[in-house]
């Protein structure tokens, strides 16, 4: 059994896929250092990440297919689904070995899998754009917590940067404990401590909350409640579109998820 180990990064994954193809060794399993457990009977390939190899393979994929397909692979990677690495390997190998465009050949298993994974990721990142709620702090930073199923915050940064160009903001992934900070010029990756924000409720501590923040949350909540048309009530659809797992960070849902179903 051939076991390939990479450092959790996308660059790392492409580096080992580059080597596997180059050495003509079929990996049976690709695993990140985070989940690696020693297996005495496997042949282990522990290859360090190499930007040169990454570029080489990335450009080759671009050349053989297109930019959109590269995006698709990256999104599938962000899904963090079990065994997505080996699927990405199969997919890239197929692209390189097939003379025509394989991305629409839905009779290939890995094509379907990549597509499904990237679709899930796309949908989740769309949900970040929908359900992120900023809380204004005393130093005029707009802060938002999010708890995405997949690692999608990186995909949303450009949207928020374009849209909220004139306000400082932070979007923090409470599951993966990292986030991004926009300071009116640049976006930086950051981590924050638990003291100022509760990872459970996503709320900024009262002592650093802007004076007006509670008022606008209240106004928004009363707007939300007012526009409800009781004659049309349909809780099932409501839950389908606004799944409970998002409620905890929504002021209009009071940041909690009990209330409903009565």
């Amino acid at each position: 059994m051939n076991l390939f180990i990479y450092d959790q990064t996308f660059e790392g994954l492409l580096t080992i896929i580059h080597d596997a193809i180059e050495m003509n060794i079929e990996p049976d399993k690709i695993i990140s250092t985070k989940y690696f457990q020693d297996d005495l009977f496997a042949t282990k390939y522990n290859i360090s990440t190499d930007p040169y190899k990454f570029d080489k393979l990335w450009n080759k994929i671009k050349e053989k297919s297109n930019e959109q397909n590269c995006q698709r692979i990256f999104k599938a990677f962000l899904s963090e689904l079990p065994d997505i690495e080996i699927t990405i390997y199969d997919y890239i190998k197929l692209i390189i070995e097939t003379p025509y465009n394989i991305e629409v050949n839905f009779s290939e298993d890995c094509v379907i899998k990549i597509n499904n994974a990237q679709k899930k990721v796309g949908r989740e990142s769309q949900r970040v754009l929908m359900f992120v709620r900023f809380q204004k702090t005393i130093d005029d930073i707009y802060y938002a917590s999010f708890d995405p199923k997949y690692n999608v915050i990186p995909l949303t940064v450009s949207h928020f940067r374009n849209r909220f160009a004139d306000q400082k903001w932070v979007i923090f992934d409470t599951r993966r404990k990292f986030g991004y900070y926009y300071d009116l010029e640049n976006v930086r990756e950051i981590t924050i401590g638990k003291q100022k924000v509760s990872f459970e409720s996503g709320k900024v501590n009262n002592d650093i909350l802007h004076m007006s923040e509670k008022l606008f949350q209240k106004l928004w909540k009363s707007y939300y409640e007012t526009i409800n048309i009781k004659e049309r009530k349909n809780i099932k659809v409501h839950m389908q579109f606004l799944p409970k797992r998002f409620w905890k960070y929504l002021p209009e849902k009071d940041f909690k998820s009990e209330l409903i179903l009565n």
């Binding site: 359900f131 900023f134 204004k136 849209r163 707007y223 048309i229 409501h238 579109f241």
Partner: protein
């Protein structure tokens, strides 16, 4: 922002909530000079109400005072209700503060008529102007044009708004006059024509000078109330068709009538709003806008009303069994699109996928075809199954109805709307 604003917000949001249009799509206004906001071309929902509607724009009325007396409207002059009016500043602040917190995509502003159409429209335009020019706000703005307002004001509205709308509400002129004595078709169609012409003119202009200011870049829309009058679906859909074709509307919204003035005997007494019919109308609307059906194929003299039990696409297929079964591996895109259970995306995937190998049922399933429905209408690279021709249409109808979960069917149109902006 005072306590009073909270009250105004409640009153004026409640007054505006029956306008179903909430779409924030169709505009791609960029962020200008590092200002606030932009309009995403595909629109974004930021929440969902308990009735499952998308909350994208903040829908408010400038005022619920009104000099008119439309029977179907909660704000009509003869109703004894609490009335109030936003100041321009209050509205601007609400939009900006909500937008900055990512609560909304923008503003949908309508209004009751105070004093006269121009007076009202002028104030609405001031809100939009203030947002665009003083606040450098580039998020979405939808203004509901006031029938009878001057052309100059309509023009200014279009310069600041992403979308304009004039609501027809009632599908026949006689019924409109009966229910809204202060309105007539002319007062609605004139501003519609003006807006259409200006949009076309503006597109020409922008072809020549790229920097010419935009006029209502997301086009115009209207709303029809369903079930307040006896007008049938054939009539409604034909009117919608004309609005799309000759008025170049981007969207026609259908809004199931919700009885707000029970005392008015000109209106029917309904136990519940005709939501299912509303949903079927949206489905029919999709068929002629995206699936190349003609209106006459969907509703005609023999079938003047949509079937409430099954969707219009299935209904068409059952009425025209000789068009089936369709060979998935040979048929054209247009033909495949007419198979119940196959949507636009899956149809395109079929065309792409079949280049490499003949498609089987298992491939179709992976592509996203709803086989439970489609199987009676197709042939693929497998043993022939029983199709509509062997089973007969009435039996297929029965089987599908039995298998269908009512909820799913009911929400089809909403799903489709949602699919528009989910990334594929």
């Amino acid at each position: 922002m005072k306590f009073e604003t909270t009250n105004k917000l409640k009153i004026l949001a409640s007054a505006a909530k029956y306008d179903v249009s909430c779409a924030s799509s169709g505009s791609n206004r960029p962020n200008k000079d590092k200002g606030l906001g932009n309009a995403a071309p595909w629109g974004i929902c930021h929440s969902f109400t308990e009735d499952g509607r998308c909350v994208s724009l903040m829908k408010l009325m400038l005022t619920n005072h009104c000099i008119y007396d439309c029977a179907y409207c909660a704000n009509r002059k003869s109703n004894d209700i609490q009335r109030t009016t936003f100041t321009v500043n209050e509205l601007v602040e609400l939009v900006i503060e909500f937008y900055r917190r990512n609560y909304i995509e923008g503003l949908f502003l309508s209004s009751g008529i105070i004093k006269n159409p121009d007076y009202t429209m002028e104030r609405m335009v001031r809100v939009a102007k203030e947002l665009r020019t003083m606040q450098n706000y580039n998020g979405y703005i939808h203004l509901k044009s006031i029938p009878g307002a001057s052309e100059e004001l309509q023009h200014q509205a279009g310069l600041y708004a992403d979308r304009l709308s004039v609501n027809i509400e009632i599908a026949t002129e006689n019924n409109l006059k009966m229910l809204a004595p202060d309105k007539n078709f002319k007062s609605i169609l004139i501003p519609m024509n003006t807006i259409r012409d200006k949009i076309i003119e503006n597109k020409e202009e922008r072809r020549k000078y790229r920097y010419a200011p935009r006029f209502s870049p997301a086009g115009q829309s209207t709303q029809l109330i369903i079930g307040a009058t006896p007008d049938n679906d054939k009539h409604i859909l034909n009117l919608a068709g004309k609005l799309y074709n000759s008025k170049k509307l981007k969207r026609v919204y259908y809004s199931g009538y919700i009885p707000v003035n029970n005392y008015d005997k000109r209106l029917p007494a309904l136990n519940e709003p005709p939501l299912k019919r509303e949903n079927r109308l949206y489905q029919a609307d999709w068929l002629f806008r995206f699936y190349n059906y003609s209106i006459n194929e969907i509703v005609n003299d023999d079938y003047p009303d949509l079937d409430l039990e099954i969707d219009p696409k299935l209904s068409y297929a059952l009425r025209n069994p000789w068009l089936f079964p369709v060979d998935i591996n040979k048929a054209s895109l247009g033909t495949i699109l007419r198979v119940p259970g196959i949507g636009v995306l899956s149809a395109k995937k079929i065309i792409l996928g079949r280049q490499y190998s003949k498609l089987r049922l298992s491939n179709l399933k992976k592509i996203g075809v709803v086989l439970k429905r489609a199987k009676y209408f197709i042939l693929c690279n497998e043993l022939k199954a029983l199709t509509i021709n062997e089973l007969l249409p009435e039996n297929v109808r029965k089987i599908i109805l039995r298998e269908n979960k009512p909820l799913k069917q009911f929400n089809n149109a909403i799903h489709k709307q949602l699919n528009l902006f989910t990334v594929n």
